[in-house]
């Protein structure tokens, strides 16, 4: 009964979405505000209905209702509750329901909180949002129905892929989708502006918070995914340039560019056409990600079930939305008023450079991800494009961007003074140089570029601090005056500084792990020892243990440092009987210096085991950096909400801000 209710709610939601797609457009064409206003309750109703469907599916999972095919295929009664719930989106059909749920959530938010939007814009945005919902709801109802029954109901389920039974991965997809799908907002606004043939600075002010919220979620989602891969897949890496990882990374790069270009549009009324194009590109990349993961064209860590029919369906959706929006862009973009050109050395100029480098870096990732697919379909040759390609293309494009980041916020709008900005950054540059030399002096091992990389990370952090110091006139005025200025700085400034510093923290983590990682592979009999990075590990043997839905073979490693006991690590190999699968659980000891990471390998002769031990210096900073970026976004968002809520007050406020920053 519950499953049928969910199915019914999905079909109703499809009907409502069709209404939401058609009536507002009709209303704005016929100049009938009542018809256009239907979009608001329609978006809200659609959200409620999809909530019901999602709730129904969750209920089926929680109660282990194996008469539902989807639950039977992906769950098991012995699974812990958390993974029963996360099992809802641990499979293709359920994750599609989550996808449309988030889509509808964003639509409902625009309907409910968008009362300050111009009526026509709001109606058009909701209509576009509705059309995306129609496409994907149709897809679910026709080709991926999660509510199909099996009769007779099987006794117990087949279980969820064990590597997905993990806390970080339970929350990874919701955040990732909130990011992916959140970019649909920017897309809908862009298409609505094209339909209107009108766009102004206010448009950017409305688009930016939605884009920022989506960007925050995507940042966190990607970081969680990489953290999971790090500790769960058991080979100590955090990013593999796997096609599906790239599929989430490309929208992130384009979305980051979009955030920055929308800033230029909001403040300077320029780069309009580009911003609209970027909004379309960002969501197109999100759609492409959805396609790549679900069509089975890729061999990947994250790919869902292979089903060509579904792939073709999503390809069709992609063709309609990407093709349609680009055609609309080509047709209507010339109508949009052009902004003025500006001086190359200015805040706008620096943001254009940011956009240029980010989009080109994104294009490099795009080529590396799709080239193997294209080559295989044309010539039949199979190749793999791995980390070396991306290190050679992506990294050289991003490094100049990172070097330029601290300059951007120090340049004034319209006409900046590069020399003055450089002078302000002198202190930061000196700190970085000293650090680079110190690192070189202390640590001669590893690639010679590594100390420069550490310097680059520090440069970003010091640059962010310099911006705050400059704005608060540190050392130029009294301490109390600086304190007062710091308190009065708009939150968006703190957000920017935090996000940029977060990138710096991440760079330090990436560089030190990549450059100075130590790896040992040993055959250890009980009593055997490994020395690594100042730690001494003693293998004490293995024991069998029983978990809730698995059996595991756990190795015991006593870890000491300079004779003092540190911890006992128990890496294990788990065997999941139901899923007929196995996983490797690494034993990890965290510290600020770095992670000690132990993996238990295969049994060898005479009770020995092959054991892999890593020391990953400062690897934590990668995820801490991502968290800082997330919080930076949040701080910035909390500022903007005020301005979006009250556009009039915003004007006064902005004048005040301008006065402060002069």
């Amino acid at each position: 009964m519950i499953a049928e209710t969910g199915h019914y709610a999905l079909i109703l939601a499809l009907g409502v979405a069709i209404v939401q797609m058609v009536l507002p457009i009709l209303g704005t064409r016929l100049n009938d505000p009542r018809l256009a206003a239907v979009s608001i309750p329609a978006a809200q109703a659609q959200f409620l209905l999809i909530c019901i469907a999602f709730g129904a599916l969750t209920a089926a999972y929680v109660t282990s209702d194996f008469s539902v095919l989807n639950v039977w295929q992906n769950s098991h009664s012995a699974k812990p509750m958390l993974y029963k719930i996360s099992g809802v989106w641990g499979n293709h059909e359920g994750s599609m329901v989550l996808w449309v749920l988030i889509l509808a959530l964003f639509g409902a938010a625009v309907a409910t909180f968008g009362s300050n939007l111009p009526r026509q814009l709001q109606a058009n945005v909701l209509a576009v949002q509705g059309s995306i919902a129609v496409a994907f709801l149709l897809f679910i109802v026709i080709a991926s129905n999660p509510f199909l029954r099996v009769n007779p109901a099987p006794f117990d389920g087949q279980g969820l892929n064990p590597v997905l039974q993990d806390p970080a991965l339970a929350f990874h997809p919701p955040f990732l989708y909130a990011g992916y799908v959140g970019f649909s907002m920017a897309f809908s606004f862009a298409v609505a502006a094209l339909i209107d043939g009108r766009i102004d600075a206010a448009w950017a002010r409305w688009v930016r918070p939605w884009t920022l919220a989506a960007w925050m979620c995507l940042t966190l989602g990607i970081a969680m995914g990489s953290w999971w891969a790090y500790y769960e897949l058991g080979w100590g890496g955090f990013w593999f340039w796997d096609p599906v990882e790239n599929a989430s990374f490309m929208p992130w790069l384009a979305g980051t560019a979009l955030l920055h270009s929308a800033l230029v549009m909001e403040k300077r009324d320029a780069l309009k056409v580009w911003t609209v194009l970027l909004a379309i590109i960002t969501f197109s990349l999100s759609l492409m990600g959805t396609f790549l993961v679900r069509s089975g064209v890729l061999t990947s860590v994250h790919a869902f079930a292979v089903d060509p029919e579904r792939g073709v369906f999503i390809l069709g959706i992609m063709a309609v939305f990407i093709g349609g929006s680009f055609a609309l862009f080509a047709w209507r973009a010339p109508l949009l008023s052009q902004g003025g050109l500006f001086a190359p050395i200015s805040r706008e100029g620096s943001l254009v450079l940011n956009n240029l480098l980010l989009t080109v870096a994104c294009a490099a990732v795009f080529v590396g991800t799709l080239y193997p697919l294209a080559l295989e379909s044309i010539t039949g040759e199979k190749i793999s494009v791995g980390a070396p390609f991306f290190n050679m293309t992506f990294v050289p494009l991003v490094v100049p961007l990172l070097i330029a980041v601290p300059f951007g916020p120090l340049l004034a709008w319209k006409r900046g003074d590069l020399l003055a900005a450089a002078q302000r950054l002198t202190a930061a540059a000196v700190i970085c140089l000293v650090t680079i030399i110190a690192v070189l002096a202390v640590n001669r091992s590893g690639p010679w570029l590594a100390p420069l990389g550490i310097g680059l990370g520090l440069w970003l952090i010091c640059g962010a601090a310099t911006e705050l110091a400059t704005r608060s006139k540190l050392f130029d005025v009294s301490w109390s005056e600086t304190w007062r200025r710091l308190r009065n700085l708009p939150r968006a400034s703190y957000g920017t500084a935090l996000a940029h510093a977060g990138v710096g923290v991440m760079v330090i983590g990436l560089v030190s792990t990549t450059a100075w990682r130590i790896e040992r592979i040993e055959a250890l009999a009980p009593g055997g020892k490994v020395d690594i990075a100042g730690y001494e590990l003693v293998f004490q043997g293995v024991e069998e243990r029983q978990g809730p839905n698995y059996r595991e073979l756990a190795g015991q490693f006593a870890v000491t440092r300079g004779g003092a006991p540190v911890t006992t690590l128990t890496p294990s190999k788990r065997a999941f009987a139901v899923e007929k699968s196995a996983t490797t659980e690494a034993g990890i000891h965290n510290s600020w210096r770095g992670d000690l990471y132990v993996v238990l390998g295969d049994p060898l002769k005479d009770g020995a085991y092959s054991v892999r031990v890593y020391f990953n210096p400062m690897v934590r900073l990668i995820w801490i950096g991502a968290l800082i970026m997330f919080f930076g976004g949040g701080v910035s968002l909390s500022d903007r909400r005020l301005r979006v809520g009250a556009p009039k007050r915003a004007k006064a406020r902005r004048v005040a801000v301008a006065a402060v920053s002069k």
Binding site: L341, K382, T393, A523, G601
Partner: protein, 156 residues
């Protein structure tokens, strides 16, 4: 600066960045791409020792032998030809004889394959699509077997 100059600077910067990017991509394409071969391909194709390639097929039954340390010897077969492989390290959880496998590494001058990574998927019935396609060509594997049909995970 005049309007014209500003536009010039903008277009110039774009061209420079694009040019650099295209150059980097082309350069990386030449040097860092890894081709996928089956043992039969390798027998046919004269691949230079040291060139990075991926080798895929089935782990030949009875071929897995361990040294005293962590080095493993096994053979990858596609039915027609067999390629001996050595690998030092920890094998993935679902590395089994008779199962599909993809290894990456290079040929040694004496015609062995030295792998530095071994991929097997976290699924009993898994067969990497590349391997399945090659095996289909050899007629060793038919459509309809569950290979590769369910979502799984690759580890290295």
């Amino acid at each position: 600066m005049t309007r014209k100059q500003r536009r010039g600077v903008l277009i110039g910067t774009c061209l420079v960045v694009l040019g650099v990017a295209v150059g980097l991509v082309l350069y990386a394409m030449r040097d860092s791409i890894v081709f996928f071969y089956s043992p039969s391909d390798i027998a046919k194709m004269e691949i230079a020792p040291g060139q990075r390639i991926r080798l895929g097929g089935l782990v030949e039954t009875g071929s897995v032998k361990r040294d005293l340390g962590t080095t493993v010897h096994f053979a990858v077969t596609d039915g027609a030809k067999t390629m001996p492989v050595t690998y030092t390290g920890v094998l993935p959880d679902l590395f089994r004889e008779g199962q599909g496998v993809v290894t990456e590494g290079a040929l040694t001058p004496d015609g062995m394959f030295e792998a530095d990574s071994v991929l097997a998927k976290h699924d009993e019935n898994y067969m990497p699509p590349e391997v399945a396609a090659k095996l289909k060509e050899q007629g060793l594997w038919q459509e309809g077997e569950p290979a590769g049909a369910s979502g799984g995970v690759i580890t290295q």
